[in-house]
Symmetry: C2
Subunit: 143 residues, 2 copies
Amino acid sequence: MRYSIGQVAKKLGLTTHTIRYYDKEGLLPFIRKGSSGARVFEEDDVDWLIIVECLKRTGMPLKEIKKYIQLCQQGDETLQTRFEMFQKQKVKIEEQMSTLQKYMEKINFKIAYYGDAVKHGTDDIYTRNKWLAAERERLFGHK
Amino acid sequence: MRYSIGQVAKKLGLTTHTIRYYDKEGLLPFIRKGSSGARVFEEDDVDWLIIVECLKRTGMPLKEIKKYIQLCQQGDETLQTRFEMFQKQKVKIEEQMSTLQKYMEKINFKIAYYGDAVKHGTDDIYTRNKWLAAERERLFGHK
DNA sequence: TATACACTTAGAGCCTACTCTAAGGTTTGC
DNA sequence: GCAAACCTTAGAGTAGGCTCTAAGTGTATA
């Protein structure tokens, strides 16, 4: 199966502009053009774009994704490097998840706080921001 | 306890430039200035900045954070709105976590793939990208 | 008193990642 | 054979979020 840029864009939730931009930036080096000059996406190219999306959405800058592509193009000598790259990315994702978890606790505190405040019709200065005060004390090391 | 902009920056892992930028953008409307014109951070102001960081790091644009501040300044009538704002932010974080989880699966697949490839010293085209092929088929609806 | 190191402002510059426009070529269906 | 709906390029513009500079003021220590 072969796909046009528009079909791929639609399926992956990107715009055709964005995909062409990625191509211009060297992120899609394997794409061929048909006789009319239009990009033809083979299944492998779609798989590739899915990986680009995955790396981008987990916080890897396009420049670094490009480096990965260059590693791929250099052949089997870079397999170990590529392996390590994905291991690092995994650690990065784990960090992001635990960071999100940490922020979730603050948000939950705020929800509890505003839940109370809404119930009483006003901010309760006595219970206000207990969690935050604890966090500030942790950062600054005193009460 | 009172803090200078430099002390706060160091503790929160921001630069003084960034904090001044936030102030300029209206994100720190409560900060007072000392006799020499320097910003004086009270404990409440630090707590406030911690919340700004929390919202920003969980993907809220500075503009929207500013709207929250404006709600805070409008008093008790906006308590319900603020409550809902944090509830929405919680949902957003949950979505981010499940998205990360989804991408983590792809990364794990790639790690397994490269683990194999490193072991054999070359890409194995037979097992290559099985997961990705499945994903592509899911998106495009055929084999 | 000198020197270092804070702090201040206004405003320019930068980076990433798009996003869009203009002008045009190709393909598809009636 | 022509309109609609694709596709192409080069390149300009935009948004968000900093990041830095210049020029200056204030404070603290030797």
